[in-house]
């Protein structure tokens, strides 16, 4: 511990903590535009300057660590000169930023706008930056790049390269001409290794990277009298949407969302949690077959996450055989709406639409990922994806007072779920749900303690061994694509050494592309941090605990759909509707 003073207040600081962090513990908020708790400080913006008493120099609070050398020193975070310099730097940044807040995707939740408001900026003395959309990049169809709005904070590059290991975004040019760009001068983001995880958009402080806004298309579908419009909501949406309405993270709004969706005019409201349960049946059965009958290679790797699937196809198709063939819950729902639901309701699937509400930008890409995503013979199974952020706007546009709505229910049977389905939204959740079912299917005994703490938490890679009837089943859970390399390398090493089944590092691996899983997906409300991840995750575990049924195979509606429609897990029909193929696309070599 080091004894220092900040603004005259004594405090003890753990060695290595930055001035920014130390000040925060005293309730001193040093403004910054580039520092984000998820990424290494880039020290780019120059707003967080502070001084050491007795020195005229200014230091960046975000990167100045308190070391033994600072013992007894005093730091000043506010004096007229500091405020003056911060204001000037802010005015400079604003002079290089287009003044188009009204039409920007980040209007009212932009960090730059917020800071300008706090500083009471009334004019920009160094000239205005013209609007220029000539360099906008919409090639991914999911994430929009508007370089003219970029303040070069570097968060997106850090996230894309260091956290996600994707290396799709980088800086090009230099000086005043510096720009964020796909790695390559004449490349569009859609042609780059981008996996559309959207973490760049979730971390961008301005509107330089944002999700595609598909709400106009949603309105068009809803106002088309010939369309029967259904909707599904993903697990992670329910514990995050409230933030856009001023609630604390983690508040579960499932039932209010159901009501809101009905009021928006959807003809049927389903819950992706149902197909999460179904995924467990399909994927769990596939795992049991691989484990007990050796039908396909182990370890088996989950495939619910489209950004991860994209990543694997581009960077790691040597593990393609290890991928579960089960589709993601979103796509299973789409396929069932266009088949089972239409059959039940006697609807022509050509007139039925499924819109899905997802925490994720990559889901917008998934709906066209391959021909397997179109099973009904009439277009894609899921017609449109709205992210949580878009849903918030959608609800607000319609004038719906979400927080004061009465509770509602989803439509059975595609809206009925167990606690196992709801935890699909956080890292470790798919694994936990799968183990709850697989254990029982293999041993015939119920798993006593359903809270599998070993696979919970925010660590990048979690490893555990579960005793299943005398067999030690080794599992790994990775979230954040940068953490996947460790897992893949171990598998590669094991394969290179002859793939001895006794030496297998893990039998079953869960991967989610975004750190923390879907609760912190690229389409969730802004402001992500580990604190927020924990709260959202807790919201889902609470939902799980409060469910009467917490094992997917106990969902009576799952039993029903197999009895009435699918036959059995991994049946021919299941394979046609609920499973998929992968293609090796190693076009980007590192």
């Amino acid at each position: 511990m080091v004894n220092i003073k900040i603004d005259g207040i004594d405090l003890q600081v753990e060695e290595g903590k930055t001035i920014l962090e130390a000040a925060k513990t005293l309730g001193i908020k040093i403004p910054t535009l580039c520092k984000h708790p998820d990424v290494k400080a880039t020290a780019a913006c120059g707003i967080c300057v502070v001084k050491m008493a007795g020195s005229p120099k200014m230091l960046r609070a975000c990167t100045t660590p308190v070391t033994a050398f600072e013992e007894g020193k005093e730091f000043i975070t506010r004096d007229p000169e500091l405020v003056d310099v911060r204001r000037t730097v802010l005015e400079m940044i604003l002079s290089d930023h287009p003044n188009e807040c009204f039409t920007c995707g980040r209007n009212q939740n932009c960090e730059l706008q917020q800071l300008a408001a706090e500083f009471g900026i009334r004019e920009i003395p160094f000239g205005q930056c013209p609007e220029d959309h000539s360099k906008d990049d919409i090639s991914t169809g999911t994430i929009k790049l508007e370089p003219n709005k970029c303040i070069k904070c570097g968060r997106c590059v850090e996230i894309c390269q260091e956290v996600q290991d994707v290396h799709a975004l980088c800086f090009i040019g230099r000086g005043f001409g510096t720009q964020i760009s796909p790695a390559g001068t004449d490349l569009k983001l859609g042609e780059s290794p981008c996996v559309r995880c959207g973490q760049c958009s979730a971390h961008c402080p301005t509107g330089a990277i944002s999700e595609f806004d598909n709400t106009p298309q949603a309105w068009n579908l809803l106002r088309d009298p010939d369309k029967h419009v259904t909707v599904q909501i993903a697990p992670a949406v329910r514990v995050a949407l409230g933030e856009a309405f001023g609630l604390e993270p983690g508040v579960n709004l499932t039932k209010k969302i159901y009501t809101a969706l009905r009021r928006l005019g959807f003809d049927a409201v389903f819950d992706t949690n149902f197909t999460a349960d179904l995924t467990i049946m399909e994927e769990g059965s596939e795992f049991i077959q691989r484990l007990t009958k050796g039908t396909a290679p182990l370890p088996m790797i989950t495939t619910c996450c489209p950004a991860w699937v994209d990543f694997m196809e581009k960077y790691a198709c040597d593990v393609m055989d290890n991928f579960s063939t089960a589709k993601s819950p979103q796509e299973m729902m789409g396929a069932l709406v266009k088949s089972y639901y239409c059959e039940q309701k006697n609807l022509d699937c050509k007139n039925v639409v499924n819109i899905s509400i997802m925490p994720c930008t990559a889901k917008k890409y998934e709906l066209q990922r391959s021909a397997d995503m179109s099973t009904c013979g009439s277009g894609v199974d899921v017609d449109l994806v709205l992210t949580t952020r878009e849903l918030a706007r959608f609800i607000k546009q319609a004038g719906i007072d979400l927080l004061n709505l009465p509770d509602g229910e989803a439509d059975s049977i595609l809206g009925d779920y167990t606690g196992a389905g709801t935890i699909f939204g956080n890292t470790g959740g798919v694994m936990e749900a799968a183990l709850r079912t697989a254990y029982e299917l293999i041993t015939g005994n119920k798993l006593e303690n359903l809270d599998l703490e070993v696979v919970r938490g925010l660590e990048g890679v979690k490893e555990a061994t579960i005793d299943v009837a005398g067999t030690a089943v080794r599992v790994a859970v990775a979230s954040g694509l940068g953490n996947v390399e460790y897992v893949l390398e171990k598998i590669r090493e094991w394969k290179a050494k002859g793939a001895d089944p006794a030496q297998i590092p893990w039998h079953f691996i869960e991967v989610m592309a975004c750190p923390g899983g879907c609760i912190a997906g690229g389409g969730q409300p802004y402001g992500v941090s580990d604190v927020l991840r924990r709260k959202r995750t807790e919201g889902l575990y609470t939902d799980d605990r409060e469910c009467a049924l917490r094992r997917s195979h106990e969902n009576p509606m799952i039993t029903k759909i197999y009895d009435e429609f699918l036959g059995a897990p991994l049946s021919e029909k299941s394979h046609k509707l609920l499973h998929t193929h992968y293609t090796c696309r190693p076009m980007y070599k590192r």
Partner: protein
């Protein structure tokens, strides 16, 4: 396998080479002036005269204004010939060398560098930079052998402490301290890196040293590596220095051949290797953390310190970064001793400093002077004063990071501290002399423009601040400025100096701050009177016809590309200011001096 060598044998054979020789200055500057052809002509002439004397190439002798340079030694003494072309060679060889009698145009060599003291450049112009034997013949690698075989790393650092040597790259951090930090860092590998990414406009000290005496720098690096316990050294050289790179590589290869690089150097337990890495021409890569990033193959942008490179440098290992001139001094210090070096100079600025003096001086070139020499002596004694007998306006030191020093301060003895007090910096050694024909706003615009081009773009104060200031200066130089713009300039300067991430951004406003300090009246003249005293700012100029002198020939009207001259031979001519594009064609074409620019 390295050859076994004995330094004394090589020294002896070098001394036996005879006391008659010819040397041709063959650094980039000499070659650009035609030294290549002169060298070939000398070889030919020596052969046709049947002379059996060595013809050597050397690096930069320093007197760039007088290139190509040929030096002749006979029993009579050493003489320098300046501005030599092929035609002069036959006389130099045929008459001087053959007869031993110097020509009238020959200048005694020892009078050539009067007022200077050469330590870093001690061998420049003397040794053949492409011959390791030539370097050894001039006491090269003796210091290295002594310290490796008889000394300790601590002993080397102690000598450096006594010498008081400070980093010659510009910041002036004591070299021994850097080495001490790195020597105390614990790591399996450590690196010493030579920063040869010289980039200040008009500065070429480092290039000349590398081209003229690469072994002095290599020896300095090996000694530094030994002192800090490094396993490897890197030269980070800008790719625009092909000759320096070639000679440096040759020097490294020769060292490997002689076992001066490699395993167990001079039979000691110290093993060391050197590799050259090229910079792609970004000024910011002279900043140590950006240099490290570039060296590692990453985008060359600075990162915040701490951690300092001596803790975590290249490839996350402790690294020392020393400038070329610093390392050239190191080998001299460890040969002659720290006390010797420390006795030269003034106060905390010991030793000598090399300056590249350019601009409006008569004798531009490299000068190496003891610290404490006055700026006036450099400009007027060593460099011959202002060209064309104009009046001096100011001297800029420290390149784009420095500031101007006005005439009243020319008697200041040069030291790190004194230059800082005047609002400038020592910098890496660029010294640009300005005369009354230079416009101060234009000078500020030039330096700032350089930094704007070279900003890496990482931090907003530098990226945006520089660009915005440049816009304001352009506005002022076009006569569109407002007095409030000066306040805006000062506001941005302050924020950039305080909030920029690295030295480039922190010092980029210096030329503006310093010109505003001494020449605010000139800025104001541009703004309120729309006048550029020096007549440099094109948009503020007016071309006028002086009626008394005009002979009404009409040439100006014919030649004006903008049809801006109205009138006829009867009524006379006038320049229509709105149409005039200030090209100056009319002034050049008038034979009667009847057109003036104001």
């Amino acid at each position: 396998m390295a050859e076994k060598i004995c330094l004394e044998d090589i020294q002896k054979s070098q001394q036996e080479a005879g006391d008659t020789w010819i040397k041709v200055g063959m650094a980039t500057c000499g070659i650009a002036a035609g030294a290549d052809k002169v060298y070939k002509a000398v070889l030919k002439e020596v052969e046709s005269n049947g002379l059996n004397i060595p013809v050597m190439i050397t690096g930069c002798i320093g007197s760039c204004y007088a290139e190509p340079l040929v030096e002749v030694k006979t029993s009579e003494g050493q003489f320098m010939y300046t501005g030599v072309d092929e035609a002069m060679v036959s006389d130099i060889v045929g008459k001087h060398v053959a007869t031993g009698k110097s020509l009238p145009s020959g200048v005694p060599s020892d009078s050539f560098n009067e007022g200077q003291m050469r330590i870093a450049m001690r061998h420049c112009g003397i040794v053949d930079p492409e011959s390791i034997d030539s370097y050894i013949g001039n006491d090269g690698y003796a210091a290295l052998r002594k310290h490796l075989t008889e000394g300790t790393p601590e002993g080397v650092i102690e000598e450096m402490k006594k010498s008081g040597l400070r980093g010659r790259g510009g910041a002036g951090f004591p070299t021994f301290m850097k080495w001490t930090f790195a020597s105390k860092s614990k790591s399996d590998e450590k690196y010493i890196i030579c920063n040869a990414d010289e980039g200040d406009p008009g500065a070429y000290m480092d290039r000349s040293i590398l081209e003229g005496d690469p072994h002095a720098v290599v020896e300095g690096m090996i000694l530094g590596g030994y002192a800090i316990g490094a396993t490897k050294g890197f030269f980070y050289v800008r790719a625009e220095y092909p000759l320096a790179i070639r000679r440096l590589q040759k020097a490294i290869d020769a060292c490997k051949k002689y076992g001066i690089l490699g395993e167990n150097i001079f039979g000691s337990s110290f093993s060391f290797d050197i590799e050259i890495r090229l910079g792609a021409g970004a000024f910011v890569c002279g900043e140590e953390t950006a240099l490290i990033a570039s060296l590692e193959g990453k985008r060359g942008t600075p990162r915040p310190r701490p951690p300092f490179p001596t803790d975590k440098g290249a490839f996350e290992k402790p690294s020392v970064i020393n400038n070329v001139e610093t390392l050239a001094n190191v080998s001299a210090i460890l040969f002659k001793g720290g006390d010797w070096y420390g006795s030269i100079g003034v106060g905390k600025s010991t030793g000598t400093k090399v300056f590249a003096v350019t601009g409006k001086v008569k004798h531009s070139g490299l000068v190496e002077i003891p610290m404490g020499t006055t700026i006036r002596d450099v400009v007027f004694k060593i460099c011959g004063g202002i060209a064309k007998e104009k009046k001096i306006l100011a001297v800029q030191t420290g390149g784009p990071s420095g500031g101007v020093i006005t005439e009243q301060y020319l008697d200041t003895p040069i030291s790190y501290e004194s230059l800082a007090e005047l609002g400038s910096i020592m910098g890496s050694g660029g010294m640009i002399v300005m005369d009354e024909d230079d416009c101060i706003v234009d000078i500020a615009k030039f330096y700032l423009g350089f930094c704007v081009d070279e900003s890496c773009g990482k931090c907003s104060p530098c990226r945006i601040g520089g660009k915005k200031m440049l816009g304001l200066l352009e506005k002022i130089s076009e006569g569109k400025g407002e007095l409030g713009d000066l306040d805006k300039l000062k506001q941005i300067c302050h924020a950039m100096q305080k909030a920029s991430l690295c030295g480039l951004g922190q010092t980029a406003p210096n030329p503006i701050v310093s010109t505003l300090r001494y020449f605010e009246h000139e800025y104001k003249a541009h703004i309120t009177e729309h006048k550029c005293r020096a007549g440099v700012c094109q948009k503020l100029l007016k071309y006028l016809v002086v009626e008394d002198k005009c002979k009404r020939c009409g040439i100006c009207q014919k030649i004006c590309p903008a049809d801006a001259i109205e009138g006829d031979r009867k009524s006379g001519f006038t320049v229509i200011q709105d149409k005039c594009i200030k090209c100056g064609s009319c002034l050049d074409s008038c034979k009667f001096d009847a057109i003036v620019k104001k």
